[in-house]
Amino acid sequence: MDKIVPAPFGKWLILRRLCQFGILALFLASPWLGVWLLKGNLASSLVLERLPLTDPFIALQSLAAGHDLAATAVLGALIVAGFYLLVGGRAYCAWVCPINPVTDAAAALRRAFGLRATWKLRRQTRYWIAAAVVVASAVTGTIAWEVINPITMLHRGLVFGMGAAWVVVLAIFLFDLFAAKHGWCGHLCPVGAFYGVLGSASLLRVSAVRRDACTHCGDCFHICPEPQVINPALYGGASGVSPVITDRDCINCGRCLDVCGEDVFQFTTRFGAGHAPSSKQKNERANQK
């Protein structure tokens, strides 16, 4: 009953890994090169000693904690927020976040070994945690999530010194591998949830442009970390739903593009490639039901 897993590599996966590790490499190489391509860490950084970047979720918590954030950090947060409004909020998850390779590895092992047992977590939980984090920041007057944030812990650890932070990363890996499928990134992480909300209206999206060619093989559902986002776009043709995946949970990873044998998926804008099915196709689909 287990499906043979489709080719684990593809263009978008390779590009994504290059991007994730490239960013890390820039942070790490800068002190050696003596040229500060990237300085700081994912919480806040400087590009080429000029352009400030700040994580907008951390900035939001700082504001909630009652700190009068300095202009540089505010500007940095606006730049980052604007960027993700263009490329998709959770593109952060797929292309930048250092935890993604960790949870991807757990998911890949799950597929490879056919591990199916999973806690039934709610996809909504992360949004509540994100809200709780902002409230906790306001109540305690601290940037609450940074006390435990595995993302910045891992990234800061790699760039500045790890200490015992690897324990947190290992815990997430084991949790995703044995306890819950896509457990951390798909259900719990408030940072991903924040970027999802941020990117609710983002421009770059994946679209099931050639959904009429879909053979119902299910490959995209198997590989997608947020499979619930595919359903309406891929099968909503009959009810007139656009093929563009507009769900904020889609991380714009492009894995569906990689694995689909029929080239159904494409990166488009949220307005683009709205191939409405012809009425004939609609009827065909209705007959299939």
Partner: protein, 231 residues
């Protein structure tokens, strides 16, 4: 939602089934409780994280500790711009809130850079940009702890290493002549209003365990009136 169900469900139209709707209210309640629990746990953990080791000194211009933890995003830009590698970010397991910048005076003290690059680097204001004169910095306060071992105070020799090290010598630290057991000795004496807490004295102290140590102000000086009298 059942993850295993996602696969079977794919050809069906999207949307909430009646069953999920019925459970929605209890589910909301549970989620709310979970969120409150997460918030409470974070709040508690965060509060405990405020306990800062006595030897960990914040960079110049750092806001008072509670405000600092609201402001510092733990980016390490101050660390990067310190030309003396004084600062570092706390690693997990150290008795300093994880990721926040600090220094240990006995390892590498603050050299009190005139242009204060660490403060300039800080994007958030956690290191207060209002600090423009490094001599007004208030990282901590040097405290004489060498009654039993300081060579100057023992009368073994006139060491003065701390005095010589001090960037504001004569103001922040003086060697006060005392007569102890009929002998003339020198007591390294810190003047709270001028000491910046840079830790140069602690670094250069020649006794195995430093006889003069920088402590955060909250530990070294809880009563302004009394501390002033010390000088």
């Amino acid at each position: 939602m059942a993850l295993e169900g996602e696969k079977k469900r794919w050809p069906a139209a999207a949307g909430l089934s009646a069953m999920t709707r019925r459970g929605a209210l209890t589910r909301l309640g549970r989620l709310f409780l979970a969120a409150v629990a997460v918030g409470a746990a974070l709040a508690d953990y965060g509060r405990r994280g405020r306990a800062l080791a006595a030897t960990a000194i914040r960079p110049p211009g750092a806001l008072p500790e509670p405000e600092f933890l609201a402001a510092c995003v733990r980016c390490g830009l101050c660390v990067r711009d310190c030309p003396y590698d004084t600062l570092r970010l706390a690693e997990m397991g150290e008795p300093v809130p994880v990721g926040t910048p600090f220094f240990l005076a006995r390892d590498i003290p603050c050299e009190m850079c005139e242009d204060i690059p660490c403060v300039k680097a800080c994007p958030t204001g956690a290191l207060d940009p209002a600090l423009t004169d490094i001599k007004a910095a208030d990282m901590g306060l040097a405290v004489f702890v060498g009654v039993d071992r300081c060579y100057s105070f023992n009368g073994v020799g006139a060491c003065r290493a701390c005095f010589i090290a001090c960037p504001v010598k004569g103001e922040a630290i003086t060697m006060e002549l005392l007569v102890k057991d009929g002998r003339s000795v020198f007591l390294p004496t810190v003047h709270a209003e001028s000491c910046t807490g840079c830790g140069k004295c602690e670094k250069d102290c020649i006794t195995e365990e430093a006889s003069i140590k920088v402590l955060p102000r909250r530990l070294a000086q809880t009563d302004t009136g009394l501390a002033g009298r010390h000088g």
